[in-house]
């Protein structure tokens, strides 16, 4: 009887441990990152902003702050945000933008239940090693917001006693921070408190958690090297580097 009880307790501990391990940051499949020579990555924030955000510049300054939340020790500066007019996005042009389509954009790719969409390209034939993990090389990533179909606010707007964020609005800071995590190579975390958790609730504005930062640190503090392609590889091929050698 006692043995059974111990067994159950041990199983519980193992399962909770497994949940802890599962409740962590995720990498894309295949994993990908920016190579050191392309860092810091410049991100152009659309100076138009989001027309429904009632702060000094329609959420642009707050978006810039949110982009740069990912910088810091031990990775240094990964992202450098600037503000400029953005009229759209072009995949593969090497320029990362956060695009806030206007109220009358006729064909946004992020519509309906989509709050913001990250579109990225990478070279499937690239071969790099991040420690023991095979990585592909990203060559572009853009973020498109659903400005017309959702309600948005910012921390600055929330400080306005006449127009605080309401229960139907999403914080632009949280969504920008989340999308920048994707831009850096992070997939979703299964930890609900993490910024990189898959869904956002209205009126929710999370800070980066240790789980988010662990994901960032894993990708950008690894021992980086260019790999040697196994098999055919090459541009368009399915390259597998020898990261375990």
């Amino acid at each position: 009887m006692k043995t059974l009880s111990r067994y159950a307790t041990a199983l519980t501990v193992i399962l909770i441990g497994a949940i802890g391990a599962a409740s962590a940051y995720g990498l894309f499949n295949p994993p990908r990152r920016w190579v050191p020579t392309t860092l810091p990555r410049q991100v152009v924030v659309d100076s138009t902003g989001i027309f429904t955000i009632n702060d000094v510049d329609h959420g642009v300054s707050q978006s810039i702050i949110a982009v740069e939340r990912w910088n810091g020790s031990p990775v240094g500066t990964l992202l450098d945000a600037v503000s400029a007019p953005v009229s759209g996005y072009v995949v593969g042009d090497g320029t990362s933008v956060i695009y806030f389509p206007g109220q009358f954009d006729s064909n946004p790719d992020c519509t309906g239940s989509c709050l913001a969409l990250t579109v990225m390209s990478y070279d499937p034939g690239s071969e790099t090693c991040c420690g023991n993990t095979d990585m592909k090389t990203m060559n572009d990533a853009d973020v498109i917001f659903n400005t017309a179909g959702q309600f948005w606010c910012s921390e600055l707007e929330d400080q306005n006693p006449n127009d605080p964020c309401s229960g139907i609005e999403y914080y632009v800071e949280q969504v920008v921070t989340h999308e920048m995590g994707h831009l850096l190579g992070l997939a979703h975390s299964s930890l609900q408190t993490a910024v990189m958790y898959a869904t956002s609730a209205t009126n929710e504005n999370k800070a980066l958690t240790s789980d988010d930062l662990a994901g960032r640190n894993f990708i950008y503090t690894c021992s980086f090297q260019y790999g040697t392609c196994q098999g055919g590889g090459g541009h368009g091929g399915d390259c597998r580097p020898f990261c375990y050698e």
Partner: protein
């Protein structure tokens, strides 16, 4: 008593583990929709096979889209042509790969259930991005079950009833 407690502990552990694993959903940032909301946002829900998948640049060469040809077996809700071509953001052209994080991905030959609505230009799309696509796969007992998306875990034989109930 101890045996009961051990059993409860084990059951709770497995429950928590399953809940933690099932909460993972791929996407950029999306509102999580209920089955009722998904139905309300869709013109049709179809059971279909993927006949072909083709990536293509748009006219301005700014974005790659994937066009997915569906051979529709039957409409589980609404009306549908026997042949549908969905447009999905992202895809591959000449080895150049673009991913729209959270957009559904299709493979030729896949047996799927898809919630169908339209982009603003009228082209069919998957409602709710990856929430609107489920694969139809046999379980251990050889029963066909939906995997992935909003309908994850629902048996194919019971999906029509669940869709009907979703509007009440």
């Amino acid at each position: 008593m101890r045996i009961r407690r051990a059993g409860i502990l084990t059951a709770v552990s497995f429950g928590v583990l399953l809940a933690a694993m099932s909460s993972v959903m791929h996407g950029s940032v999306f509102k999580t929709l209920s089955l009722k909301e998904m139905k309300q946002s869709s013109e049709a829900i179809v059971h279909a096979s993927v006949a072909s998948v083709r990536g293509s640049w748009n006219e301005s060469h700014s974005m790659i889209y994937t066009f997915v040809d569906l051979e529709v077996h039957r409409a589980l809700y609404g009306r549908s042509d026997r042949h549908l071509v969905l447009r999905i953001p992202g895809g591959i052209v000449d080895g150049f790969r673009v991913e729209a994080i959270g957009a559904p991905q299709f493979e030729v030959g896949e047996n799927v259930v898809v919630f169908v609505s339209h982009w603003k230009d009228g082209t069919p799309m998957v409602t709710g991005y990856s929430q609107g696509k489920s694969r139809v796969e046999p379980d251990k007992a050889k029963n066909l079950v939906l995997r992935g998306g909003i309908a994850d875990g629902i048996p194919l034989s019971g999906i029509t009833k669940q869709i009907d109930q979703a509007s009440r």
